[in-house]
């Protein structure tokens, strides 16, 4: 901000941000089904993502049952086990986390937090959801096709992904690739909205550096996704050509069951490069919104301004940029020039610097704060420790010499579930509890929410902490059953049983969350407009839940940053962003 007008309430110029020509729904269908209102689209995105997420949760139960008690469930054979792995991974990473953070929270929070009436292109925004739903349906359809869904692993590496004897070779892989391509097209339509709304839709006074960190996180993640998803699109299209039309982009000359296939010369490594050029930024596409949201949860529920706001913004941007030059650390075991390995190990370790800055800043925000242990705060603290744990094992795996022996063990499974499974899910739960009163107008049941937190948090540690140990003992991942093995001690079987039982309990605890959400919709006590006494704009709407157009007759005007908590001398311990500066503040800035 170069120049600032210092004025009090009586000197306020009118909001001069041009009004959006809103689309006004005329019927129930255009209001709640084919809605162009970002808030409705956000809820549609979230419910779809959570529904498909429960499918993936169920698949993880089946996998865990097979690992701990092999042979108990007769319908699980090696093929179906690989199908569960594949679908669990792909659904959780793409169709749940990406869709929920960007399509769900992005749609709901961006217009409200920057003071806009709606997204920049509401029609494209609506299409985005419906194409996403189509992608989900295509994916689900593969369960019902002959041969079932693909069992190629969530990375879909060729050549095995499209060879016979890989489950789902007929239909599964084709539907998976088509579904991914659809998802990317739908996401691009939504992503254009999120970016342009942040660029052009901010209300008067909402400078970039006054935006809440949630918006910064979602904005940066969307930019990254718009640049990275095309890599998956290219890979998916070219693999579809290989599978359906006999080209050899990725397929080398290969003999299948004694028969020479017509493929030749293609490069499986090329697919790996394309996949991970998308796949690594994807980790941060999920993590950056989580970083942003958690910053706001901590500041609000510790009644303190976020420590090092500028540094937090810079760290988000720097992490976003660096995440494009680390992708090959997923390919150490694929073989590469040692200098490349050195390069990618170095960039991987460098990315820990801005990430560590963020962790320090969260801890320093909590330091001497007036911490309210509300469910959002509990989940936020749960996120910090989980993310720290997962991040530290990432420092191990980022080194080539450590990664090579650990790469095919449960250690990797434990690492990425901690860092990009449990940690973002913690933020999702925290965020849902935090914004639930605004979305529905009612409070959730506090006791149930805390119970949900403790079971989920402790349970996640009981599941994934021992898994690191299994990995160090050499228990391989991706194995359908261990059979008679001499290289790992028999006690690993007991540990596996323990993990499975805990996983069943933690999974079941998620129904507490679902029950709480639906029960409180009806029976929760009315929340009022700003139950957390928060500063950001979405809590200052004239109606709760916010009406169509968000702001009533006039757009809000923003006078301050998003973190004026416990300001010395202020009447309350929070000052909303749209509250004009007091005479004392004006004097303060003049001197």
């Amino acid at each position: 901000m170069a120049t600032t007008i210092h004025g009090t309430a009586d000197a306020v110029p009118p909001a001069e941000t041009a009004e959006v020509e809103l689309y006004h729904p005329h019927s129930w269908i255009t209001r709640y089904v084919f809605s162009q209102d970002a808030k409705v689209i956000a809820i549609q995105y979230s419910l779809t993502a959570i529904a498909i997420g429960f499918v993936a949760l169920f698949l993880s139960w089946l996998m865990r049952l097979q690992l701990a008690f092999p042979g108990t469930l007769a319908f699980i054979d090696a093929d179906s086990y690989y199908q569960y792995i594949t679908m669990h991974g792909m659904i959780m990473v793409v169709y749940l986390l990406t869709a929920l953070f960007l399509g769900g929270f992005g749609n709901y929070l961006i217009p409200l937090m920057v003071g806009a009436r709606d997204m920049a292109f509401p029609y494209a925004n609506m299409l985005s959801y419906w194409i996403y739903l189509l992608a989900v349906l295509v994916l689900v359809a593969s369960f019902f096709m002959p041969g079932g869904p693909t069992g190629a692993g969530w990375t879909l590496y060729p050549p095995q992904a499209i060879l016979a004897n890989t489950p789902g070779q007929d239909w599964g892989i084709v539907l998976m690739l088509v579904s991914l391509a659809l998802f990317i097209i739908g996401f691009t339509m939504g992503g254009l909205n999120y970016v342009v709304t942040v660029l052009q839709g901010r209300t008067r006074g909402m400078t970039l550096m006054r935006m809440p960190l949630t918006v910064w996180g979602i904005f940066t993640a969307t930019v990254m996704a718009l640049l990275a998803f095309p890599a998956l699109f290219v890979g998916a299209v070219m693999m579809l050509f290989d599978r359906l039309l006999g080209t050899s982009f990725f397929m080398p000359a290969i003999v299948q069951m004694g028969e020479q296939l017509s493929y030749g010369g293609g490069s499986p490594i090329l697919f790996q490069h394309l996949f991970w050029f998308f796949g690594h930024p994807e980790v941060y596409i999920v993590a950056l919104p989580a970083f942003g949201i958690v910053s706001d949860l901590i500041a609000t529920h510790a009644r303190k301004n976020i420590f090092g706001y500028r540094m937090m913004v810079w760290a988000i941007v720097i992490i976003g940029a660096l995440s494009f030059v680390v992708w090959a650390h997923h390919m150490y075991v694929s073989g590469m020039n040692p200098y490349f390995g050195f390069f990618f190990a170095t960039t991987t370790l460098i990315i820990a610097v801005p990430t560590a800055i963020k962790v320090y800043n969260w801890v320093l925000t909590l330091w001497q704060g007036d911490i309210h242990f509300t469910p959002p705060m509990l989940f936020a603290i749960g996120f910090i420790v989980t993310f720290l744990n997962g991040g530290l094992t990432g420092m191990f795996l980022g080194n080539v010499v450590v990664d090579v022996p650990l790469s095919d063990t449960m250690f990797v499974v434990a690492h990425f579930h901690m860092v990009m499974g449990v940690a973002p899910i913690m933020v999702i739960f925290g965020a849902i509890y935090h914004w639930y009163p605004k979305i529905t107008g009612r409070m959730f049941n506090d006791l149930l929410a805390k119970l949900h937190f403790w079971i989920t948090f402790l349970g996640a540690y009981l599941i994934f902490f021992p898994m690191h140990y299994l990995g160090l003992l050499g228990v391989p991942r991706r194995y359908f059953e261990m059979g008679e093995t001499a290289f790992v001690p028999a006690s690993t079987v007991t540990l596996n049983e323990f993990i499975t039982i805990t996983a069943l309990v933690v999974g079941a605890a998620q129904f507490l969350f679902l029950f709480n959400m639906f029960w409180s919709l009806r029976y929760g006590r009315p929340a009022g407009g700003n139950p957390w006494r928060a500063t950001t704009l979405e809590w200052q709407t004239p109606e709760t839940p916010p009406a169509h157009g968000n702001w009533g007759r006039e757009l809000p005007v923003v006078y301050r940053w998003a973190y004026d908590y416990s300001v010395p001398g202020a009447a309350e311990d929070f000052i909303p962003q749209n509250q004009p500066p007091s005479p004392a503040e004006v004097r303060g800035t003049m001197t």
Partner: protein, 240 residues
């Protein structure tokens, strides 16, 4: 992946420049109050209408996405080129005519854009029609080129260079076809309300998109024709 990395680098530089100009160094906690209103620019009040600014920003972001897509296709092409079974594809001569058509379309839309600035409705309409006709002819020409290649025995499956030719020209063609839809919309506005700010911005956006399509095609054509082989060799050695 060098082409994709180079593209990301360009995007990164632009983003850094943009952030530096938008107060990334500000200290918001010290500065309550309203930021000064932006000075009224030379564009005038109508031009600044929010929906038009959003449309412009939307196109710029979309070009970033499409640029990333093509940069990644080019990366894949460069990596696949290094394999032993690669031999260059004899390109049909009609591609030269097609390239000329695409240039003509780009020029036509540029002319239309200039005409809107001078308020000359007839010239704008002619430019739009020329752009649309040239793009249609380009698509037709590409299909003829495909037929010629097929007739010469270069199917989709055999030679990987041919596979890439079909995929790259196909994806580019789809982008041209999408552009034609937008151009049709613009042309309708040019007849309904030629003097409006909306028409002017729409024409400008179409012209920008056409220049982008031309640039992408020139890069692809250069690659497919093999002029960039030496350059590609260097890229492969840097990072394959």
């Amino acid at each position: 992946m060098s082409a994709a990395l180079a593209f990301i680098l360009v995007v990164g530089v632009v983003a850094a420049w943009w952030l530096a100009r938008h107060g990334i160094m500000a200290k918001p906690w010290l500065e309550p109050g309203l930021p000064a209103l932006p000075a009224p620019g030379p564009a005038g009040p109508v031009e600044a209408a929010a929906s038009l600014r959003r449309a412009k920003a939307g196109l710029v972001v979309f070009l970033g996405v499409a640029g990333s897509l093509f940069a990644l296709f080019v990366s894949a092409y460069l990596m696949r080129m290094g394999a032993a079974d690669w031999w260059p594809l004899p390109l049909p001569r009609i591609l030269w005519i097609n390239t000329g058509l695409l240039m003509a379309g780009s020029l036509g839309l540029h002319g239309a854009q200039v005409a809107t600035r001078h308020g000359s409705t007839a010239a704008m309409r002619q430019g739009l029609l020329l752009g649309g006709a040239a793009a249609l002819a380009f698509l037709l020409g590409q299909i003829l080129a495909w037929r010629e290649l097929l007739a010469a025995g270069h199917g989709l499956a055999g030679n990987p260079a041919a596979s890439f030719f079909y995929v790259l020209s196909g994806v580019h063609g789809l982008h041209v076809a999408g552009g034609l839809v937008a151009l049709g919309h613009t042309t309708a506005w040019a007849w309904r309300d030629p003097g409006s700010a909306r028409t002017r911005v729409l024409v400008e956006l179409c012209a920008t998109y056409w220049h982008f399509l031309l640039l992408v095609w020139l890069v692809l054509f250069g690659l497919l024709a093999g002029w960039a082989n030496d350059f590609a060799e260097i890229c492969r050695q840097v990072l394959s």
